[in-house]
């Protein structure tokens, strides 16, 4: 076999490997984003129950409840982009956090069994969501690294692959959840 043929085969192999690794990384990002979406949907489904349960108590926080309902409606609109979903998720996280803090000001509401159950479910969903976001961010980082680093960046620009946005992890989620604070304080 001639040397030039060997060189051609090696170059072809390297190109195929680079192409496949880029496609695999892009698909991994999409695959994990689908899982994030599933958990986000679960959270949207929980919002009407939460609003219904707490609205009769929380007279002073009506605007908060209206906002969270509006954000949910926006998130459920068809054809919104991944970037918009990421932005809405951050706003909903912040609004739900504020509702949970407000619950602390209503002793009857705090002791209500439905609210406690909702808090437990929401807590679980937040943990699952946080896990899905972290997995997504890792997949996006691997993908972004591949499209910016030599030599895969040449192949990525030929394939018109663009950088993807990561989820920003809310600082409070890094802290350990304190059950006492949630239920008893």
């Amino acid at each position: 076999m001639s040397t030039s043929l060997i060189i051609v085969i090696v170059i072809a192999l390297v190109l195929i490997l680079m192409y496949n690794s880029l496609v695999a990384k892009k698909n991994q990002v999409e695959n994990i984003f689908a899982s994030v979406d599933t958990v986000l949907k679960k959270r949207y489904d929980l919002i009407p129950n939460l609003v219904a349960t707490v609205s009769k108590y929380m007279e002073h926080e009506k605007s908060l409840l209206t906002e969270v309902t509006k954000l949910r409606a926006d998130a459920n609109k068809p054809n919104i982009s991944d970037e918009q979903k990421i932005a809405l998720d951050a706003k909903i996280s912040s609004a739900l956090g504020s509702i949970m803090i407000a619950v602390e000001n209503y002793p009857d509401l705090k002791a209500n069994e439905n609210v406690m159950h909702l808090q437990g479910t929401l807590n679980e969903l937040e943990e699952q969501l946080s896990a899905a976001r972290r997995a997504y961010n890792q997949a996006v980082t691997d993908y972004n690294n591949a499209i910016e680093m030599i030599p895969t960046n040449f192949m990525a620009s030929a394939m018109a692959y663009k950088r993807k946005q990561v989820f920003e992890i809310v600082e409070s989620e890094r802290k350990n959840v304190n059950v006492k604070e949630l239920f008893n304080s």
Binding site: G120, T121, N123, E127, A131, A135, N176, V177, L182
Partner: protein, 320 residues
């Protein structure tokens, strides 16, 4: 639950009369072992001398005498210390465990079952397993069991000779986990990255075909110490929250030994590699020595406190 220093106090104050009695027994036993050892060695040397002409013809025979000397010596030693060991475990280890939590049960002869050890998927399946000092109970509503374990693998060479190698020796703990999960997540000591550096180590880890997918964790300190494999990227992160990663790292630093962890079948399995038999009484060192006492207390406390330290008793999630 009592902390380690309270337990050391308990060891010295409450158990002091027992320890003094045992210390006397230990001194007698040590004397007996030395006497028996000298007589036994002399007998073996005499036998070797009487067979000197035979040994001169086939020097390999000397090797068999040496092997037999150590093997029989070990059996005699085990036989001599048997009663003392039993007495020590019943009068020191058992009260120590009950001092930590009186609802815990202790059996000095049993161990965590081979089924659980194999289920943990941390090590290859053993061909022989033994262990002792089995503790089982319920701490704040969380089931826990642990014991000393020695798991071995059988090998046969081309001549058909059998030999055994250790897969794992140390403390094996299994407890209920407070979150529901379906997949399999393993947290292993990171030997590849620490030996070969980040680039090659990472490549080796991601191409470990005997394990599931590599999961890169977003905690640099945790990543330096451990490598995570899981059947589910998201579930691995659901289990290994930032706070749990920190707690596992603290646990590893506290144990000062390699720690292997797996999350399978809604349980957490932890294997702490000591490479020695734990909770055994010292024959050649005093039971009243601080370092000796601390070792028993520290190991027991480490095992039992995982429920508290990893917050396994917090039923915060949907699993009630």
């Amino acid at each position: 639950m009592k902390n380690a220093s309270e337990l050391t106090d308990f060891y010295y104050k409450t158990l002091y009369p027992t320890l003094q009695e045992l210390e006397e027994d230990r001194k007698h036993l040590r004397h007996r072992i030395v006497v028996v050892g000298i007589i036994y060695s002399l007998v073996v040397v005499l036998i070797a001398f009487s067979l000197s002409s035979f040994i001169a013809q086939s020097p390999d025979f000397l090797f068999f005498i040496g092997f037999g000397y150590f093997a029989l010596g070990a059996i005699i030693y085990k036989f001599l210390i048997k009663d003392y060991t039993t007495e020590f475990k019943q009068s020191v280890i058992k009260p120590l465990i009950h001092a930590i939590d009186d609802k815990l049960s202790y059996n000095s002869n049993h161990h965590v079952t081979e089924h659980i050890f194999t289920r943990s998927d941390l090590f290859s399946e053993p061909d022989r397993m033994n262990g002792n000092d089995y503790v089982r109970g319920n701490i704040d509503g969380t089931k826990i069991e642990f014991s000393d374990i020695h798991a071995e693998k059988r090998h046969k060479n081309s001549k058909g000779q059998e030999s055994w190698s250790t897969i794992f020796k140390g403390l094996f703990i299994v407890a209920e986990f407070n979150k529901n999960f379906h997949g399999k997540t393993l947290v292993l000591p990171d030997t590849a990255q620490s030996t070969f550096g980040n680039l090659i180590g990472n490549w080796l880890q991601s191409n470990n075909f005997s394990r599931d997918e590599l999961v890169k964790m977003d905690d640099n300190n945790f990543e330096k110490e451990f490598v995570v494999y899981s059947s589910d990227q998201i579930e691995a992160r659901y289990i290994l929250s930032h706070s749990l990663m920190k707690k596992l790292l603290d646990f590893k630093n506290k144990s000062e030994h390699p720690v292997y962890i797996s999350f399978i079948g809604n349980h957490i399995h932890m294997a702490v590699y000591y490479d020695k038999d734990l909770f055994e009484p010292s024959v050649f060192r005093s039971l009243l020595e601080y370092k000796i006492a601390m070792e028993y207390v520290k190991t027991l406390h480490l095992a039992i406190s995982i429920v508290d330290e990893l917050k396994l008793n917090q039923k915060l999630w949907s699993k009630q």
